[in-house]
Symmetry: C2
Subunit: 247 residues, 2 copies
DNA sequence: GATAATGTGTGACGTACCGCACAATTTTTT
DNA sequence: AAAAAATTGTGCGGTACGTCACACATTATC
């Protein structure tokens, strides 16, 4: 299902636009935007529901626009020619994805495949529209640069970890990273990560079996647990201490 | 013959705004900037010479500003706690680095360590100044977003490759990537990459020995060669055919 | 040109991790 | 509640690749 098909100027869509303006404040790059600018942009944005497991965009598709996560979670994956895949990044409430398609001349394809990890609501904004918006509202451009800076930084660290660490260390580190990402409250207990072991393995860049073995240990120690296809971090504190061990 | 020497020997001490302004056109994000904006920015920019091997910034240092490569080449590295390092990216004529420090609130440290691979001239611009510039010249902000988009895209692919491919495939792919990066003319022969095998190994994220073994094969086949601590791609075409082999 | 310093080639060996196989468990569908 | 589908746990090779060792080559330093 392609978002473009929803773009009929229907009555329903307008109603959504009004409501959306408020929702947009939840997106990091719109957080500090002026009321006026925001309302103009919100007119152009579509709000779309997606079910868990649905592929939102594919890395082989022509890039039409940028997405914002209002609720739910999205995994971004890349494949090699043999069909093996890796989860490059996980996007969550407030995040942006497919930003890498902005102003692209080299290639018009999406940078990665995006698939829903949980049911959720996404906002879609046409590439051209956002580019126009970035031209007109310097504040927005700044926020975008800030957001991309953070992404680059994070990605750099991820790259180092995938290249240098062994499976055990990568697993623990990934658990910690995702734990923080999905930690809603300030508590450090019972953090839920909506991934199966299989999926988690593709974040780490290893096999299901290898992760399963590490998880067995961590479960035995009472640090994590699994329930209904979710990973649950029981004790984030203990988890973090494992990182500094020379073992 | 080499513009570096030209610069270093006689002109470096007399660079004036006018000259710098011209040089700045070589930097991708300034390419299409208006004359006026450019001359204002050029007043704030410092041009600095660096020798091969010199560390320009460290990932543990406070981020003071952003760099632009006028000539020479720079490697960006990240280390883990054991001191193992990986080359995250290589920057070259026209490139920007340390952009990830822009508008950063989370951490004020540089995202990576930068070291000169060849003698060269770098431009330095204070973080605040550039941020101010991005506010004032929307065209500049756009260029920056475009540049960061490309970086993100590239990094995503690199991450996939490091995670999924074996050493042989990674080596060939990296050779191809860097080959294109350092290919000055349109020819596809005798492309020089200013890296030793040791350094190349840290780009790939593997050991010196493993790369050496792969290189032995490629040399035997006449695809690459080494001369004075540089890798030379003799036959880019044959190199590319190796990528598609199911072998 | 002599000496030091740095980078390279290759064998031998150990091991972390992948891939397979299959049973056990959990979740979804009917 | 039973059947089907998907996910997980674990044992067991095989192997790609890291590590160590040392000889050789190439480049810097004096």
């Amino acid at each position: 299902m392609n978002p473009i098909h929803f773009l009929k100027d229907s009555y329903v869509n307008r109603i959504e636009a009004v409501q959306t303006a408020d929702f947009l404040r939840k997106i990091v790059i719109f957080k500090d935007l002026s009321e006026k600018s925001l309302s103009l942009i919100s007119k152009r944005i579509q709000s779309l529901p997606f079910k868990k497991g649905v592929q939102v965009i594919g890395e082989d598709e022509l890039a039409k626009g940028v997405f914002f996560v209002h609720s739910g979670a999205v995994k971004l994956t890349k494949q090699d020619e043999n069909g093996n895949e890796i989860i490059v990044c996980i996007k969550q409430k407030g995040d942006v994805f497919a930003e890498a398609c902005l102003f692209s001349k080299t290639s018009e394809l999406y940078p990665a495949t995006a698939t829903m990890l949980q049911d959720g609501q996404l906002f879609f904004l046409d590439k051209m529209e956002l580019e126009k918006g970035l031209h007109e509202y310097p504040e927005l451009a700044i926020q975008m640069i800030r957001y991309m800076s953070d992404s680059l930084r994070e990605m750099t660290s991820t790259l180092r970890d995938t290249a240098l660490l062994d499976v055990y260390a990568k697993t623990v580190k990934t658990l910690e990273r995702l734990g923080n990402k999905f930690n809603t409250s300030t508590s450090r207990w019972n953090i839920e990560i909506p991934l199966t072991i299989q999926e988690f393995a593709t974040v780490v860049g290893t096999t299901r079996e290898s992760v399963s073995r590490v998880f067995s240990k961590l479960k035995k120690e009472g640090i994590i647990d699994m329930k209904s296809r979710k990973i649950i971090i029981l004790d984030m504190c203990r988890l973090c201490t494992l990182l500094n061990k020379a073992y």
